[in-house]
Amino acid sequence: MEQLLQQLINGISLGSIYALIALGYTMVYGIINLINFAHGDIYMIGAYVGFALTTFLGLGFFPSLLISMLVCSILGMIIEKVAYKPIRNSTRIAALITAISVSLFLEYTMVYFVKPDTRTFPEVLQSKILTLFNGKIIIDLKNIYIILITILLMAGLQYVVHKTKVGKAMRAVSLDKNAAELMGVDVNKTISYTFAIGSSLAGAAGVLVGVYYNTINPLMGVVPGLKAFVAAVLGGIGIIPGAVFGGFFLGMTETLVSAYGGSVFKDAVAFSILIIVLLIKPNGLLGKTIKEKV
């Protein structure tokens, strides 16, 4: 029982990271129907920015987190303007390959400049162990930080999407781009904002991962990127609560599978769950069934 609780706490922390990345995937997919494969690499860059700020400039955790989010949001907007805008009206498959090319570009440019070595993230948050139930459950303060920051960011996102003009524009564009444009919504600007917000969340996830696991490398975005995407699809891609739900669900499942002896298969389990869920609910757990009109 204690072990289960312990694993659940770890699962929530991992799930927070997935959820943060998944949000960006889902927002971008919702608005331009593009699987943004480069999203996992934005998360990697977020981690590197955090690393540079803490190691070379000696900044603290919170300033690094904020600056990293800012840098990532700018990067996201640049990627959208340079790479995705020219292919906005092209075929799905061309768009997908473009996204992959952007992803490769980010990964290997980073490999070229920072070398492929794994680096150690400095201890910016003091590791403080809390014990509960007479030491049967150990919670690192870092876990609490990660979970709190994730909740804060999600609440912020929820506010932006539902209570602000930008959020309303985002929802309008994702439902019908042409109609939104006719109603006076600046579609280009709205898409830019979406990329900015999604990327900043990925940046935050990058810094949090650096803090949590202490190591970063230029290809660190590939696997969590895919996993977060799986999380987004699990919840129903394009649906914001779906991404959060999918992220936590995947994080917890993975932690539990690893804890109970299946660690080598944990990635396979994630993908198996994905396939099974899609077979039962082809549009994700929270997705609506869309049927083509005849």
Partner: protein, 312 residues
Amino acid sequence: MKKNIISFSILTIIYFLVKILLDIGIIDSYLQLNIFLIGINIILAVGLNLITGFTGQFSLGHAAFMSIGAYTSAVFTAKLGQSFIVAILVSGVIAAFAGIFIGIPTLRLKGDYLAIATLGFGEIVRIIALNIDYIGGAIGFNDIPQYTNWTWIFMMTVATVFLIKHFINSYHGRACIAIREDEIAAEAMGINTTFYKVLAFAIGAFFAGIAGSLYANYFYFIKPDSFGFMKSIDILVIVVFGGMGSIEGSILGAILLSIISLFLQGIPELRMVVYSVVLFAIMVYRPTGLLGKGEFKLWKKGAERNVSIESK
């Protein structure tokens, strides 16, 4: 008939020309490696083109079928001591069964969802291979006999291209294209869409299995990570670059992309960066591919704007 004779003569000339050049050593082993890889890539791309380009089913897991073929062939030749032709055929058949196995459930999915399910399947195959000690696990499968030579590569490539071309120019092949064009109309014309989708998957997987077999018995050594997500993407890039729904395009795409990567070998540390830029440029300036005929409706973004949301 005249056309057949001409293509037969051209193929014979190519075969003997390369064979002689190989025998007298004008083609060195490095160039030979690349020629063989081109052949393997043509087989893979033509098979994937049947699935994605002709039948319109988005697949991001083609390398998994190649992996299944490669490991089957390795087991049959290295462990069971079977002849190469047996290994090739068994590899194809087992990969085809894998295609059917994954095809039947997942082909209810459409578009991006199918892409993700096939991606997931590819990763599952890779992870399983990593954990089976009998086939070497993460260390890889060693000491596979090297049976693959120019004759095998040439024969298999030509056979793949001809068989798939024959398939496409039949009523079965037309049914596949009709599914790509309009699934509902295809069903209304009496086409069993599930059957044809699974069939396309099985045929594509069969040839990918053969490609895997040729690959394994050329390199002595295979490991699960050679057939990961990026390999699937590489095959897809050949298909899209050559032109969706064009067999000639896939052949041309495989050759040109191999030449590009040959040049990029000279700058190892920037190779992937340049490759990504080339890829990007192709997608922006020629999204329909070299020999692509135009944009298919299915691949148009926003095609699903016509759907109405119904609760069922």
